[in-house]
Symmetry: C2
Subunit: 199 residues, 2 copies
DNA sequence: CGGTGTATTTGACACGATGTCAAAAAACGT
DNA sequence: ACGTTTTTTGACATCGTGTCAAATACACCG
């Protein structure tokens, strides 16, 4: 056995950084190889293909992101928690300069099954997975809030609505790059879900 | 002058069909040339580049789509109009087999400015334009509804919220392909915006 | 009716990206 | 020390975008 000359996780981080900034299409394996100080062929040997590399890098990101979200959602009134949730979401889209947008949404649109083939089924599942988990997280938060009398309504329906809005925010971010607009939409959504005058 | 041997509009239709089904990345100019019965070089001569061709094809689509939307939004109660609006939106995403998704959202994510450069500014504007126009359309519908006492609230804020949801639906469609889910979200959104029990 | 100009068509070419493969290199266990 | 095994390395095949110059075909004008 010859040992690997590079750090697996380092490469995933470098790769995801590029994918996030420039998109999957806009990033070549040569770019990543140069940035990571690795030979292009080694990447193929270790990961198989560009898409497979992206998927591993994405899953690494998704894991970390979910943990951060979960942690941030753990304290305060329901309204406070939802505000924190949207703040984190928007901050994620607007991070970097220029802002990098939402990697999940972009990835879904860039890689989601191209033609009838449906070969990117793994990719689609990876994205759908993160969306599902976040939905569940929000639903649990709403259910807990309902038990404390901070919310009356269908937690599942409300959570789905909130997640839909966050996906929409990702798209509007890319279309207009108007952060105050995103914040307004978020605040309005919280008002709608909790009932305008509720506290 | 030598006259062109193909129909400009035919090519735009053939091209957009492919772009919509397979994405911009997944469609090569050779594909379009073959399908349209035109030489690849002629496309470059007539349109300049793949992206420019896509943009012209997209603008053609956007014009038609907006007209159809406007027409469909012209009659009935406010609730009925909003229902029609969401129905059309979802039908658009789900058209084709397999469903083609939302070309605007996909285009935004596929082409939106790659690196710091910002060369795709034209593309971004084209997408943002359609989104803006649809937002205005919904806002006008809400304002009219408000005058008839069918809606009380801020039409601009509500319209922005509705458009955000439609963008989110485009993403969820791609992630889960679950049409009943999309309909549920749409109905729930209408309830939230109009007030749950309102009629 | 034939020549001339002009835009389109056509095919060759350059370039860069993905992905494959076989040969070389480098550790680890025995 | 030696051989096995995996990684590395560089060459290669293929495909897609985009450019260019030569050939072509029509329209217009004399």
């Amino acid at each position: 056995m010859r040992p690997r000359e590079f750090d697996h996780d380092d490469v995933l981080r470098v790769a995801f950084d590029q994918f996030w900034r420039k998109g999957v299409r806009g990033t070549s394996l040569s770019d990543i190889a140069r940035d990571a100080g690795v030979q292009r062929g080694s990447l193929y040997n270790a990961f198989g293909s560009k898409e497979a590399l992206f998927l591993q890098a994405y899953e690494r990101y998704a894991r970390d992101y979910l943990v951060a979200l979960q942690k941030a959602l753990g304290a305060g009134t329901l309204r406070k928690r939802l505000t924190t949730f949207f703040d984190l979401t928007i901050a994620n889209f607007r991070s970097g300069s220029p802002p990098r947008g939402c990697p999940t949404t972009r990835g879904l649109m860039e890689l989601g099954a191209a033609e009838g083939e449906g070969l990117d089924e793994d990719a689609r599942k990876a994205f759908a997975n993160l969306v599902s988990r976040i939905t569940t997280l929000v639903e649990d938060t709403l259910s807990a809030g309902a038990e404390r009398g901070e919310f009356s309504g269908n937690p599942a329906a409300a959570a789905l609505h909130i997640i839909t809005v966050t996906r929409g925010l990702a798209v509007l971010e890319r279309a207009f790059g108007d952060e105050p607009q995103l914040r307004k939409i978020a605040a309005h959504t919280i008002d709608l879900v909790l009932g305008k005058g509720a506290r």
